[in-house]
Symmetry: C2
Subunit: 218 residues, 2 copies
DNA sequence: TAAAATATTTAAGTATACTTAAAAATTAAT
DNA sequence: ATTAATTTTTAAGTATACTTAAATATTTTA
């Protein structure tokens, strides 16, 4: 299957799992940087290949076959991220960019070699779960976004759900890192801001950031 | 530039350097598994981009710009081979197949990271030289093919110039490996066969193999 | 050196993955 | 509940990288 198709099913999968669960063509188009028309076209094409269910004006739904393909690509993406992060001194943003390309040109054999070398990790450096060779995610997700965290409690950062360079630069400057500990000192409900202390820093984060920083109870 | 273009200039580069130096469209087409017509088309297109010089019915000649592009791709290919060979237990044939895909999706940044990790190797596991970051090959090639080697002399294997699985399987079974030592016991000139002793084996190789096994004097 | 074989080029056509522009349907706002 | 705004779809068109078939040029060989 082509890169375009792999990226399309991956975008649906990611949208379905994370975001506000909008998998209509326009939303997928926005993620992929293509026109709405192109997304509608592709949706019809993939429906004919039994990768997704398409009904006019409805959400796109991956079939079992489509989900399997998406998970295979996601697995390769996250394995590459884990591998490059371990081997080389590269930022989370950079490893994401490389993985975005390499994921489509990686045999199942090589993916297994990488997984094996890393000791079959269950999470990538963003904290996202890595599907196993059968395309199954075997970990439970108990984490919540920082925006939903409770005042006074201490948490461990479990995921940094972003591909944005500016966000990661901010993280790097403020000890916001996968597995680090933080305490929520205050939730400013009406302003949708969250005050945390992490290491020696006190930070007040707005919703843009607290929605993509995921944490687990300590 | 597209994968098709990168593969096209790479094929010209490789043909120009190794083989019987035939870079006419038909020969490139054969290497790439495309039709002659497609190769002629592409040649015209690349001439317009100043990647090669095209004159009807003549050999295709890479320009400086085209050569640079080819060397950049070749560098990435050989770095991936060296890296995968070091990291994972994979055959020469397998690492070639992976590198063939990964080479087009690798940033200069990542290539440099790989090179640095490996200590800036000058040769890949086939014995082919790895161009440096400036696209220069800094090693001299003093090796000759086994078909040209002298009776009675001892040599070191410097290159295994093939991507063929059967050839590498044969090599694996007979201690034919980069850097191993062999002695040419007899050249059967009229039959174009070469008898060698390597390790505990005596082998009589025909021209198909002696033309792709390169050796250096001891 | 002329005929036969081979290679290259031209021409016409295809599939993929897009585009823009307009029409149709849905969703949001008053 | 209409109207307005937004989305989705359809339609027509484009670039890339191929294909096959036929025409033309080159190379081989007898």
């Amino acid at each position: 299957m082509s890169v375009a198709i792999e990226n399309f099913v991956k975008a649906i999968y990611n949208n379905d799992n994370h975001d506000i669960k909008n998998t209509k063509p326009g939303n997928i188009a926005k993620k992929l940087g293509i026109s709405n028309a192109a997304a509608t076209d592709m949706a019809k094409k993939l429906a004919a290949k039994d990768l997704l269910n398409y009904e006019k004006y409805q959400e796109l739904q991956l079939t079992e076959k489509g989900t399997k393909m998406a998970l295979n690509v996601v697995r390769k993406h996250r394995l590459w991220e884990a591998f490059l992060f371990k081997m080389f001194d590269m930022s989370l943003h950079d490893i994401h960019r490389e993985a975005e390309l390499l994921e489509h040109q990686t045999s199942d054999l090589l993916a297994d070699k990488i997984s094996s070398y890393l000791g079959h990790p269950k999470f990538d450096p963003h904290g996202d779960p890595i599907p196993n060779a059968d395309g199954k995610i075997t970990t439970e997700d108990t984490s919540i976004s920082l925006s939903e965290a409770k005042e006074g409690k201490t948490y461990i950062i479990s995921r940094l759900m972003s591909d944005d360079k500016e966000f990661f630069d901010f993280c790097a400057q403020n000890e916001i890192k996968y597995r680090n500990t933080l305490t929520v000192s205050k939730q400013f409900i009406s302003n949708k801001m969250t005050q945390i202390s992490i290491g020696s820093n006190t930070l007040v984060l707005n919703e843009d950031f607290t929605k993509i920083i995921y944490v687990d109870e300590n």
